[in-house]
């Protein structure tokens, strides 16, 4: 392990304002929920070290402002992303409808090498609110994700820490896979030195 280059995974969290991006991130990293997060202005990130299949990686989770007009400044931090998390509020139809445009906007601005295979994960947040308020059903969300290259889908509650850990495990794994796929790309020579034997031993331990 020690001989291997330390891996940084860059994850961008997108979605309409007020769907709970900051809350999800804080629940995952700090195990805390606060009802009084202020609206995010600009961008910020948190980092967390996690084990993915026995490998220690550092996740850098980027939180951004939700109002779409602030996204034009996103280029600065979308670059080099390894995974994009799309968040909507299951009690807010509009936030679900905009997922598509968030996805497109991200692909345009981040311009990943291979847009088709770039990993997205969808989170339907605020499932704690209650069925009577819910407007987007599980089936509908799953159908949507299935249609878009089978994006992984989780229903979460940042408030009650439902499914948050599980979702971010998948996010980390997909991000790591994406990061490693970059190593085969000559455009990113600085990430090439990966200890192959390390990978093999890794495979064994799985």
């Amino acid at each position: 392990m020690s001989s291997r280059k330390k891996i940084l995974l860059k994850v961008i969290i997108l979605g309409d304002s007020g769907v709970g991006k900051t809350s999800l991130m804080n629940q995952y990293v700090n195990k805390k929920f606060s009802a009084s997060y202020k609206a995010t202005i600009g961008a910020d990130f948190l980092t967390k070290e996690v084990l993915v299949d026995d490998r220690l990686v550092t996740m850098q989770l980027w939180d951004t402002a939700g109002q779409e007009r602030f996204q034009s400044l996103g280029v600065a931090f979308y670059r080099g992303a390894d995974c994009c998390v799309l968040v909507y509020d299951v009690n807010n139809a509009k936030s679900f409808d905009t997922l598509d445009s968030w996805r497109d906007e991200f692909l345009i601005q981040a311009s990943p090498m291979d847009p088709e295979s770039f990993p997205f994960v969808v989170l339907g947040n605020k499932v704690d609110v209650g069925e009577e308020r819910r407007v987007i059903s599980s089936n509908r969300a799953q159908a949507f994700c299935h249609a878009k290259d089978d994006m992984p889908y989780f229903e979460t509650s940042a408030k009650e820490a439902v499914n948050v850990e599980e979702a971010f495990q998948v996010i980390a794994r997909n991000a790591l896979a994406q990061e490693e796929s970059k190593d085969f790309n000559p455009d990113f020579p600085e990430t090439i030195p990966i200890n192959v034997s390390g990978n093999e031993s890794n495979g064994c331990s799985c």
Binding site: S36, I41, A43, F45, E49, G66
Partner: protein
């Protein structure tokens, strides 16, 4: 006169122990003198060996809180058993001695007049040795640890409990030298400041030194000061060894292992070896280095060195762990300030959050600076420590200038009270009887009183609700019509909601905007009492906040923002606006008045919220140019980090530092910015001042865009406003001078035009609005700056303002334009049009057409509105 009491000699020191005699700076002569003294009965008091007056505790940054007192070395009866814990070369005798000795401080006002007299007798004995006569004083309370109290109470520490003394001689940064006592238990007593100029005995001693040696240097070669004398006292009884790692730390009776770790003796440690290898051995300073070190702020220097030591350690640590933090926190070699800082829970939280040791260290290093800044009573000097002389692009002249201004402005920086404010206006007509500039200057430098309600009135002038030259009656009439207009606008969107008017697109937009406002108001400044409550049921059962409830002020906020959405439909509500409204509403607490004050504020802030972000880009670009001009070295570094988009200042500029400062600081900051006294874009100098403060950390520790962003984001809540305002003003002056210098050079090259302009200055009233001739839209200004010659530029306008009225008009510059035309390009290379705009005091407002084109709202307001 105290009676001479004769007792048996029960604990006087024996003749000096020869093996350790070299530790004494004292001559054998004075020792033997001492040993002949007849001692007092200890139970009637303790024996005062040495005393010094005018030694202060500074419990706060304010000089008025300083507590004057005496420091004294006191001998008490040997009651405790001999210390066994000192296996060092100290003899048993001396060990006993040291536990009988107390280093004490007592406040002046706590001493009886009789005791005071004894203190001054002992102090006046004019020698480093104790007086031959015995003076008994009431025993001070003996402590080994300092309670959280701010230190206005007497304390006395057994010398045997003192681990080390941090000595900070007076320097250019510190008027008063100070000593900090660190105990073996790891406690630090409050710093004792030696006000040498007030202290008779120190003055006497200095004179004596001068007479005897033609030299007034003290312990380390610097000027003799009160603290030196304390160390001299101590050296008579215990081993005092200067730490080689921290030359400002004196170890008291160090154990062998202490010496090994910190002192001069012992085997070379790994670290010593590394230091030698890297040429960093502090033992082998050249005389020049020593001299320089003496001049530097000793605390700053100690911290720099401590930081280096730590950096070396951390370079071997890939992941920063709590254990490392703790061992650092408990390391007595570290100055007490740093240890205190490390024990600070916030710092520990931070260390948990970051896994990057480097980023952590960057914050830590800056935290030290903040901490030492807080411990100073003179803010003005701190900039000097932050901008290392040899590296600071701003140079000494800058700091000196800031100093001079800061000092002379002490009066101007008193807040404007309601009484002072009222005195500016004619009692009958209510018309301002000062110039607008005078009023603005006072508000810019002093701010408005936070308690007496003056803000409520004054803000309406600053935000353009009232004209500065209006009468009382005019203002009343204006307010009445504005109230009517507010009700009309509020009714308009209300109807719209109820009747579902407009196209589908419009209706969708309104629904969305309402939702956005709802969400944002419920998360804006909820820690402020008026916005905190949830005491009324939510009027809309479908709202996501229906269960939580709301309060009347939150509902007012929503109404005002929706009304703004109606008032400015080209732009509409955008995230961040609720942050801008909250302070205004909190001050006014009247929805109609607050709304129009907010609308006035929004006229200049509109450009921050455009859909295409062009206004934000322009400001970030201007900041980019400003850093390029004023701090090229920092700029170069930011370029390497791919950070010259200055995106990390986005939040600060968007909502004018609302997320960086406490609510009360925001009120003070904004009213200063609203005054437009120096520049209508003064907020960019605030940003620059914040950046400059942290330039060393950025240069030394930050290695990527993400680190810069994180570091700057985390500054929130840590920025000191008063010193930032002073620094920003200094930066503005520096900027102004630089632009003038460039213009002068260009004019010099085009000599004829200069002469012509000087001789033909026509009259133009530069009084209240000197820049009125400058076109108002940013685009137009840029054109003007590019096309216009130097005389027409706002720079010249600013110069005009400084000269006090005499001015030039636009006509002559056409001539100089022609003459200078050849150099136009070169000039623009140096001072961009964006930068020139910074000299303008004209509020940058957008044209309606610009907002229509880039606002991202639902188009023009309804006809007739």
């Amino acid at each position: 006169m105290p009676p001479k009491l004769k007792t048996s000699v029960d604990h006087a020191p024996d003749s000096p122990p020869s093996p350790t005699a070299s530790y004494y700076d004292m001559s054998d002569d004075s020792e033997s003198e001492y040993s002949t003294i007849k001692h007092a009965k200890v139970d009637s008091g303790v024996k005062l060996l040495h005393a010094k007056s005018k030694v202060y505790v500074h419990p706060s940054a304010s000089a008025k809180d300083n507590v004057a007192g005496h420091i004294a070395l006191i001998q008490q009866k040997a009651s405790s058993p001999r210390r066994e814990s000192i296996p060092s070369s100290s003899t048993a005798n001396r060990a006993t001695n040291s536990s009988n000795l107390l280093l004490a401080w007592s406040p002046e006002n706590g001493l009886s007049s009789e005791t005071k007299e004894k203190y001054s007798k002992v102090e006046g004995s004019a020698s480093d040795s104790p007086p031959k006569q015995t003076y008994l004083v009431p025993p001070p309370p003996v402590t080994t640890q300092h309670s959280a109290n701010l230190g206005s109470f007497a304390f006395a520490v057994p010398i045997s409990e003192i681990f080390s003394i941090l000595s900070r001689p007076p320097s250019s940064g510190w008027w008063h030298g100070s000593l900090v006592v660190n105990t073996r238990a790891g406690e630090s007593f409050p710093a004792l400041f030696f006000h040498d100029s007030e202290c008779e005995s120190t003055q006497q001693h200095r004179k004596r030194l001068q007479r005897e040696n033609f030299d007034i240097s003290g312990q380390g070669g610097g000027m003799f000061w009160g603290g030196d004398q304390i160390l001299t006292w101590l050296k008579q009884y215990v081993t005092v060894e200067r730490s080689t790692h921290e030359p400002n730390i004196y170890l008291i009776d160090p154990t062998d292992s202490d010496k090994l770790s910190f002192g001069s003796g012992g085997k070379p440690t790994q670290e010593n070896v590394r230091n030698v290898l890297e040429g960093k051995n502090k033992d082998e300073q050249t005389p020049q280095q020593k001299q320089r070190d003496q001049k530097e702020d000793p605390l700053g220097k100690a911290l720099t060195q401590a930081r280096w030591t730590l950096l070396e350690k951390f370079s071997q640590v890939t992941s920063f762990t709590r254990r490392t933090a703790e061992s650092v926190a408990n390391n007595k070699n570290i100055p007490p300030q740093v240890r205190r800082l490390m024990q600070n829970p916030q710092v520990q939280t931070v260390s948990d959050e970051f896994d990057s040791a480097r980023l952590y260290l960057a914050r830590w290093a800056m935290g030290i600076a903040e901490q030492s800044e807080r411990e100073r009573n003179r803010r003005i000097w701190t900039a000097k420590d932050m901008l290392k002389k040899e590296e600071g692009e701003l140079g000494d002249f800058e700091i000196l200038e800031m100093d001079a201004q800061g000092l002379s402005l002490a009066d101007k920086r008193k807040p404007v009270t309601l009484k002072e404010w009222d005195s500016w206006f004619n009692a009958r007509t209510g018309k301002l009887e000062r110039t607008i500039d005078e009023a603005k200057e006072r508000i810019f430098h002093g701010g408005l009183d936070g308690q007496d309600g003056v803000r409520k009135e004054a803000w309406l002038f600053l935000l353009g609700v009232y004209e500065w030259d209006s009468t009382k009656d005019e203002r009343r009439a204006k307010l009445n019509s504005l109230r009517d207009e507010y009700i009309r606008l509020k009714g308009a969107w209300w109807e719209r909601m109820v009747d579902e008017q407009g196209t589908l697109e419009e209706r969708e937009w309104w629904k969305e905007q309402k939702m956005r406002i709802e969400k944002d108001v419920h998360r804006t400044d909820r820690h402020i009492p008026i916005f905190a409550g949830e005491d009324i049921p939510h009027p809309d059962p479908d709202s996501p906040f229906a269960e939580a409830g709301t309060n009347v002020h939150l509902e007012q906020m929503k109404d005002m923002l929706l009304t703004y959405n109606e008032h400015n439909r080209d732009l509409g509500y955008v995230q961040g606006m609720s942050d801008l409204l909250a302070p205004i509403y909190a001050i006014q607490q009247d929805d109609a008045v607050a709304f129009w004050a907010f609308a006035g504020f929004m006229e200049r802030m509109e450009r921050n919220f455009l859909r295409d972000q062009s206004g934000m880009r322009l400001q970030l670009l201007t900041l980019d140019h400003l850093v390029q001009l004023l701090d090229p070295r920092l700029y170069e570094h930011l370029e390497k980090l791919d950070s010259t988009n200055f995106f990390f200042f986005f939040r600060m500029l968007l909502v004018w530092f609302k997320r960086e400062f406490e609510f009360s600081d925001i009120l003070r900051l904004w009213e200063g910015l609203w005054s437009d006294y120096l520049s209508a874009n003064f907020h960019l100098f605030i940003a620059m001042a914040i950046l400059e403060k942290h330039r060393e950390v950025i240069l030394e520790h930050l290695k990527g865009f993400d680190e810069v962003l994180k570091y700057v984001n985390e500054l929130s809540g840590t920025i000191d406003l008063p010193s930032t305002l002073i620094r920003a003003e200094g930066l503005f002056r520096k900027f102004q001078k630089t632009v003038e210098a460039v213009d002068k050079r260009n004019n010099f090259m085009a000599a004829p035009s200069v002469r012509q302009r000087n001789t033909s200055a026509p009259q133009e009233n530069a009084g209240t609005s000197p820049d009125a001739s400058v076109p108002s839209s940013p685009q137009a200004q840029i054109r003007a700056a590019v096309i216009g010659g130097p005389g027409k530029s706002p720079a010249a306008a600013a110069a005009r303002r400084q000269d006090g009225g005499a001015s030039t008009s636009g006509r002559e510059q056409t001539v100089s334009d022609q003459l200078a035309a050849g150099m136009e390009q070169e000039k623009d290379k140096v001072v961009s049009s964006e930068l020139r705009d910074l000299l303008s005091r004209e509020i940058p407002k957008l044209h309606k057409s610009d907002v229509q084109a880039h606002g991202g709202g639902v188009g023009p307001s309804q006809p007739g509105s």
